[in-house]
């Protein structure tokens, strides 16, 4: 496979609070390739957003402390880049859109001002030159009468429109990577579909790689090429989307999939849920963080922390990665179920 455009090695983020150190992200490594969509799923608090904020140096410090062996982006290592240079990459080569378009736009500045400043900053354009490009950018994301919308205030737009503005803003500099942090969570279901379609369409046109952060497995299934699952600040499984959905190799992934309601499910059947609560990240016990909630947990699981390791899926013979000691057993069970 070609060299990845973004490669993260051992990224950790901790927050030092008076009540102890919170390990929000613990030794996360992943790669992102040209033009692909990588889904990052997990419950809230699993560290998926913080991981991406940390890449761009957006974790507030103090209390946040970011450590990484390497964050290679093209020729550069973002982990050691001085803040001013990292800033030149943000919004330019790597852009981000956030969960809540209601609060992510500054209510005291016009939409136009918030768009043009990106081009003024990264391209050195004058405000009037930037306006033309921004209007075109708004048109690209399907906003009618883009010229007029430039003078609108954020509160005059609907939620869906605002998220389109956010996307237009992120894509103004034609970034190579777009990090979309729960881009549809705060929106109505019909608008959700439109926004996802828009993202897919834009990706096709511009070849942008997307990191899609979400807790909605449905969104991931439709959009992502590969999926990484996070739990308690660690990656617990990484696989191609269809492999993951077909044969999860981690009990947590399995639990997540089982808790998704489906149309063809039995309506009288109670929806499965994962028992217990996500762990408190302040004093994480040794061993697998999922062990207390895991039906397969053994003493070995509690003894040491399992790492994300390669497993060969016996059915497809594809190499996959899972942080479960029993991954192979799970795989074999899937194989058994499938042959039955």
């Amino acid at each position: 496979m070609a060299t990845p455009m973004l490669s993260v090695r051992d990224l950790s983020v901790r927050f030092d609070t008076p009540h102890g150190s919170v390990r929000a992200v613990d030794g996360v490594s992943f790669e992102l390739h040209e033009g692909e969509t990588l889904g990052l799923v997990g419950e809230s608090g699993s560290g998926k957003s913080v991981t991406n904020l940390a890449l761009l140096g957006l974790v507030p410090s103090p209390p946040g402390v970011v450590e990484a062996r390497e964050v290679r982006f093209g020729e550069r290592d973002l982990a050691t880049l001085p803040p001013a240079e990292l800033r030149r990459i943000r919004g330019n080569e790597i852009a981000m859109i956030f969960q809540d378009p209601m609060t992510s736009l500054n209510p005291l500045l016009t939409v136009g001002r918030q768009l043009t400043e990106v081009l003024e900053e990264h391209r050195g354009l004058s405000r009037s030159e930037a306006r033309t490009l921004c209007a075109r950018g708004l048109g690209d994301v399907g906003i009618p009468e883009p010229e007029a919308r430039l003078d609108a205030w954020p509160h005059e737009l609907s939620g869906g429109m605002r998220q389109r503005v956010m996307i237009a803003m992120a894509l103004l500099c034609r970034p190579r990577v777009l990090i979309a942090d729960e881009p549809t969570t705060a929106l109505d279901v019909t608008i959700q579909a439109q926004i996802l379609e828009l993202l897919a369409d834009l990706q096709e046109r511009h070849g942008t790689a997307i990191v899609l952060i979400t807790h909605d497995l449905g969104v991931v299934a439709g959009m992502a090429d590969r999926v990484h699952v996070m739990y308690a600040g660690r990656l617990v499984e990484a696989a191609r989307t269809d492999d993951l959905f077909g044969r999860p190799l981690h009990p947590y992934t399995e639990g997540l999939l089982a808790s998704v309601p489906s149309f063809d499910g039995d309506p009288t059947q109670a929806l499965a849920s994962i028992p217990g609560q996500p762990p408190d990240l302040v004093d994480l016990p040794p061993g697998c963080a999922f062990a207390p909630r895991c039906p397969l947990a053994s003493d070995a699981c509690r003894a040491r922390t399992p790492l994300l390791e390669e497993v060969t899926d016996p059915r497809s013979s594809r190499r996959r990665r899972s942080a479960c000691l029993d991954a192979l057993a799970l795989a074999e069970r899937h194989a058994g179920e499938a042959s039955r």
Partner: protein, 328 residues
């Protein structure tokens, strides 16, 4: 916009009318007038004085005369039995009548002489309160949690916790007696206004600093600040363009009460520094039962504060597009 102003005006007229009416009749109902406190006057002299100030009229006639716009005395319009030389008068025409104590002056004369002094003192105090308060507040928010922040907050809180005449006392000890930089009292040059302005504005600077700090911290924790950083804007741009505007909004709405407070504070400060401003006249007039002067100053300050409040509300809508005047 027009509707907003009209509605404001209507409420203002109602308020002012209530204030004037209630205080006018209270004043008349109270035993003891302005002329019988020091020594007993000869009966005929007293009658003369009462006639001169129309205190011998029926209170309701006095009231109508005081309010205006028709002049009810001998100079009033002919159809009311006057000679028509001065048909209009009273508060509605901006005439607050003669002072009861300063026999040869009208209330308008006294206000006309003293108001410019008080206004310049008030403006100096407000400007200095804003300059210091905003700087300290923003600095405190940016360096939150550090020693600078803790120190600035302590000073700011102490500034709120001391009466302004005590601040004035410290200032006089420090900058007049120990370091003879400024005159101790009086009025004449700009140097006379430095210490009074400082003492008057001090508590408001402290309060503005607190408001600014809280406002800035609130704004800096907003999602849209994270967006601004994610766009790759330099920290200075994020602060100046995205944060300050929202952060100082609370200060803008505080300007109305602050002006009222500075007017109040000037009562004390003008007295300490012997500044011949409107505030000192007001206190003296209240103590001396110079009711026309006291009422005149009260009405004047009410108008001043009310119009400033309206201006501030209006400015607020210019700063915050989400606020709609028509709905508020």
């Amino acid at each position: 916009m027009t509707r907003f102003l009209l509605r404001r005006l209507m409420w203002f007229a109602i308020t002012l009318w209530v204030v004037v009416t209630v205080s006018f009749f209270l004043m008349r109902a109270v035993r003891g007038g302005p002329f019988d406190n020091d020594r007993a006057l000869h009966e005929s002299i007293e009658r003369n004085i009462k006639a001169r100030y129309h205190l011998d009229w029926h209170p309701f006639k006095q009231y109508l005369h005081y309010i205006g716009p028709l002049n009810l005395d001998e100079q009033g319009p002919e159809f009311l039995g006057g000679d028509g030389t001065r048909p209009f008068g009273g508060v509605l025409t901006g005439d607050f009548g003669p002072s009861f104590k300063y026999r040869d002056f009208t209330v308008n004369d006294i206000i006309g002489q003293s108001l410019p002094i008080s206004v310049s003192l008030g403006v100096i105090a407000l400007l200095w309160a804003l300059a210091l308060g905003l700087t300290v507040g923003i600095a405190s928010a940016l360096w939150r949690g550090t020693r600078i922040d803790v120190g600035l907050r302590l000073v700011a809180t102490a500034g709120i916790a001391v009466p302004n005449f005590t601040i004035a006392g410290f200032l006089v000890i420090g900058f007049v007696f120990v370091l003879p930089l400024f005159p101790v009292a009086g009025y004449g040059t700009w140097r006379h206004l430095v210490l009074p302005g400082f003492a008057l504005g001090g508590p408001f600077a402290a309060y503005i600093a607190r408001l600014t700090r809280t406002g800035m911290l609130e704004v800096l924790s907003q999602d849209y600040i994270r967006t601004a950083h994610a766009k790759g804007l330099p920290p200075r741009t994020v602060l100046l363009r995205h944060a300050i505007k929202g952060g100082v909004l609370p200060v803008v709405s505080y300007l109305g009460p602050a002006t009222a407070g500075i007017l109040t504070g000037s009562l004390v400060i003008e007295r300490i520094f012997a500044i011949p401003g409107t505030g000192s006249h007001f206190v003296n007039s209240a103590l001396n039962r110079d009711y026309t002067l006291a009422m005149g100053v009260t009405i004047l300050y009410t108008v001043l504060v009310y119009s400033l409040n309206t201006a501030v509300d209006f400015a607020y809508t210019l700063l915050d597009p989400r606020i709609d005047l028509e709905e508020s």
